[in-house]
Symmetry: C2
Subunit: 573 residues, 2 copies
């Protein structure tokens, strides 16, 4: 009953399945550690040694234009592209973020692709996987407990209670945990404080796990986490509280990437899942380095960056690649007919509701009206030093004239473009895209692209935020007085060299979700700034921000069940 | 870096390790599913078929006299006994509760035995294992979120908010979560309520997992969970809320027992970990049935019941064996010199502090003064229809005259007795005990012992509670008016046929932790009653009760770390 298959003879061959999968990813058998019949962890002995050259692999990042609330199918396109590359004879491996479990029981009802572009085994990918998210939850909440315990037992570090910024986390959609009061009851029941729970992907521990280059780096980053300040204005770290070693112990296995597969048997490293808004939104540095090591000369390592290129790709370059020192040869920019129509400004799309009916009528004109967003994202991709390949993710309701219109827009802008059908046709429907990516990488491998970070480490924090805002198309940045003061505090404390991350709506290039296309004549409003000293960045919050989702009135949980005869999990897509 | 061993050649043989271990437990290779190199899950195909006879195995339960706050070493004695049986040529398998992770970072610094009576691999047994506790946490908190979501989205079932008894849970020692207020913030942030977190072992989901006989039974028990009442007085279940199917999906893998080993290579099924106070305190029904199936005729299945015989053994018989229909042939009653000295009433022992110095002086007299407690427990064991074997767990500070005194007391009472040295000597130090257990089982197998439940299902709830109180030695039971009213409500709603569980201090046969020996002239005060409809019992709370531990002023977490070179986890014991 472990995993999905009830058939015994099939189950007995599962050991071969994992070894075969690993071998296709170029991972030696000795590093493959089964966790169930269809999932393995790869031990860190599979990582490249110091100075080992990884330039042989083509590293490709999948990003998108500004998405609609439905998403443009970045993950399914990434899966389809990996399958497409293999189907035209290339070697490929895909690295993806693990999805949170909370939303599975909310609107989503599943995670990990769809149709012929999906991840297997569905049940393990959708629920628990190998427990890495639970390990992050445990490590995070151990630190939370140690903070409150420190306050309770005399507060030797003289922590200012109201300065504590470290929340608790759970991988559940539970709006009632957004704002809570803890430590009620008797004196023995702790110090009374305002507190909160975020969903686990929003934990700084998750970003740390995704950025750590090895166990030593993980340990150091955990120690550097800042949880609050002393009454004298000092900075209190997880190391000061004696928590970082135990947190590292809780995370040791979670640092090892998980090996799963696509429906067509392409190896996938599914590892870590930092939030797209307040975190990097990228899968792990370790998985990418491990994947690149396994590839033959000219093999493909595909990875995805969260949200649109303005957010995910910028962070991928300025945060993740700055750590991994890996340089992508191409960026696949996923676009859909519906998204460009939405960028015409004619429609208002709402998550959980159907598409507006008028949007389904054939209209290349509306597609053209939304072109500014695509053009702006092409400019962002190039500005970061990457060669774009436009992937038109075709939905069943799209019209050929609309697809042709997008191809024309892309080509006019000098970019490669190809339509693809990952969900309906799998790899066979993504061969044109695969060939376009091969061409782009061949071109780039002649003259390796130099990544163009948006700013230099020595720039001050406001200069860095300003550089990002300019890339978005803003006329400038407005700071609240509290944000300005805190940025000065960070610089005075030596955190000024850190990169910055802008948390804004993913639904617009601007900070205003309703502004479609490529908005101009606006300023970026920085409401609040926060420090993620362990992850290694400062983040600026622009507009409202939710780090704990709720459940809808009819949660997907109601449709999920188990077939008690076969053990099969039902309703997970 | 997975698991504890850095040596590669050793690691490559780990597959054999698990198969060899399973084969010693009589489990066919096809049912062994590795989760890491040194831990496996056993799929439920290994369970006996309907009506399959399991009478061939000797089922032995390890219990204890009323313990000191330090515990009398039931787990180490169980491990040592299993090793002792194997060392004298018997086949044996041990089934144990998995320890919670929270306390590992508190006072304990580890779980799973000590010295030469310990469980391996230490790191996996101490941290996460295969994530079953996390699955319980997730399933439990999904139901919590669905309850609050139901209140938020219009409360169609008309739930009386203040009647909700379903808390949230986390596997962490965090006193600040004992009493909280949730749903603060704006209207979109849920309904404001008083709420609480328990530690995960206190979850009703954990007891359900431990008592479920198969996947179908698990699904039904989850559906029967009662979370609160309607404004009309009706009972609201997890099934009513549409949550039980998704909870079952989250628990499907956790229903499979985990295979680990003792330091001497005896197979151990480590599975589920319900609390000893408000829950059964026993490991799972499924693990015991699976273990019994694997034994040759005359092999030994050893299992442990929580706290002293008054609590854990009674629940083992009246709750666990009533479900499993398995009949133990003997009960090992663990006793120590220090515990009998404590029962003399001369000393006050405090958890986390050293033993009083005077207690270490040679004094068979003080041992004799505490004999009443041992005699009372022998009576309890026999009253439940079981043949007792007294196991004297010898500590380094004990004196031979004291050990001899306990042997004399036990033999005067007609019980077998043997000293054992599990921690210092492993199996070799437990061979006398092993032989005593073999004799007791041989005697019992001639005339299979009929278990003697304390009460009949058709007795009313107060009669059942009264039977348990009488077994403790109480003169009667006092109920608060609220408890009386609620018991009547339960009976009116059809819950009167359920068994009962008394939650009282484990540190005395009475409800008063300071009363040592075998107290008489006292009454059992039932302060509150609660319904665990999914687990299938009503419980009566007598005295104060903590279901969320705190951390001490210097938590063990401060001593736990990772060796960044080898990946070894440090400080876990």
């Amino acid at each position: 009953m472990s995993d999905s298959a009830p058939d015994r003879s099939q189950a007995l061959n599962r050991g071969d399945l994992l070894q075969d999968l690993a071998s296709r990813a170029g991972i030696a058998a000795e590093h493959v550690v089964p966790y169930g019949r269809e999932v393995a962890k790869i031990d860190l002995g599979a990582l490249p040694g110091a100075g080992e050259d990884q330039a042989g692999a083509n590293y490709v990042v999948i990003t998108a234009i500004t998405p609609t609330p439905f998403g443009e199918g970045k993950t399914t396109t990434a899966i389809g592209l990996a399958q497409g590359l293999v189907s035209i004879g290339e070697q490929a491996v895909l690295t993806l973020r693990q999805g949170a479990m909370g939303p599975t029981f909310g609107i989503k009802g599943g995670a990990g692709g769809a149709g012929r572009a999906q991840l297997l085994p569905v049940d393990r990918v959708g629920l628990h996987l190998t427990g890495d998210f639970h390990a992050v939850t445990a490590a995070h909440n151990l630190l939370s407990a140690i903070i409150d315990n420190h306050l309770h037992h005399g507060n030797a570090l003289d922590i200012e209670e109201r300065s504590v910024t470290w929340p608790r986390v759970l991988d559940v959609n539970d709006r009632a945990l957004r704002h809570i009061v803890t430590g009620l009851g008797a004196k023995a029941d702790g110090v009374t404080r305002q507190a909160s729970f975020d969903i686990t992907p929003a934990s700084e521990v998750m970003v740390i796990l995704s950025l750590a280059t090895d166990l030593a780096d993980l340990r150091q980053r955990l120690g550097r986490i800042v949880v609050g300040r002393t009454r004298q204005g000092g900075w209190v770290t997880a190391e000061d509280l004696g928590a970082a070693g135990a947190m590292c112990a809780l995370l040791r296995q979670a640092l090892e990437p998980n090996l799963v597969r696509t429906g067509e048997g392409v190896p996938v490293l599914l590892h870590t899942g930092p939030f797209g808004n307040i975190a990097t939104g990228c899968s792990s540095v370790i998985a990418d380095r491990l994947a690149a090591r396994g590839m033959r000369q000219g093999g493909y390592v595909l990875t995805e960056a969260g949200f649109g290129a303005d957010m995910g790709l910028e962070r991928f370059v300025d945060l993740k690649c700055a750590v991994s020192q890996m340089h992508p040869r191409a960026a696949v920019l996923v676009v859909s007919v519906r998204a460009l129509k939405a960028h015409s400004g004619r429609y208002r799309l709402v998550s959980g509701k159907d598409l507006p009916e008028g949007m389904l009528a054939e209209s290349p004109q509306e597609v053209r009206e939304g072109a500014d967003n695509l053009l702006k994202h092409l400019q962002i991709v190039r500005g970061l030093g990457l060669s774009p390949v436009v992937a038109i993710n075709v939905f069943p309701t799209d019209h050929p004239s609309e697809i042709a219109e997008i191809e024309a827009i892309a080509r006019q802008a000098g970019a490669r473009a190809a339509a693809c059908h990952p969900v309906a046709q799998g790899g066979a429907g993504c061969q044109d895209l695969a060939r376009a990516v091969v061409e782009a990488c061949q071109e780039a491998s002649g003259a390796p692209a130099a990544l163009q970070p948006l700013y230099r480490p020595q720039d001050d924090l406001r200069t860095k935020i300003g550089s990002i805002a300019a890339m978005y198309g803003a006329d400038g940045v407005d700071y609240t007085p509290a944000a300005t003061r805190l940025l000065e505090d960070y610089e005075a404390a030596g955190y000024g060299d850190l990169p910055v991350l802008v948390a804004k709506t993913p639904l617009s290039l601007s900070a205003e979700p309703g502004l479609k296309g490529a908005p101009t004549g606006w300023r970026l409003p920085v409401r609040e700034v926060r420090l993620a000293a362990g992850a290694g960045y400062v983040y600026a919050i622009c507009g409202s921000l939710s780090t704990m989702p709720g459940l809808p009135s009819r949660p997907a949980a109601e449709r999920i069940d188990v077939d008690i005869e076969t053990g099969e999990i039902l309703g997970l897509r």
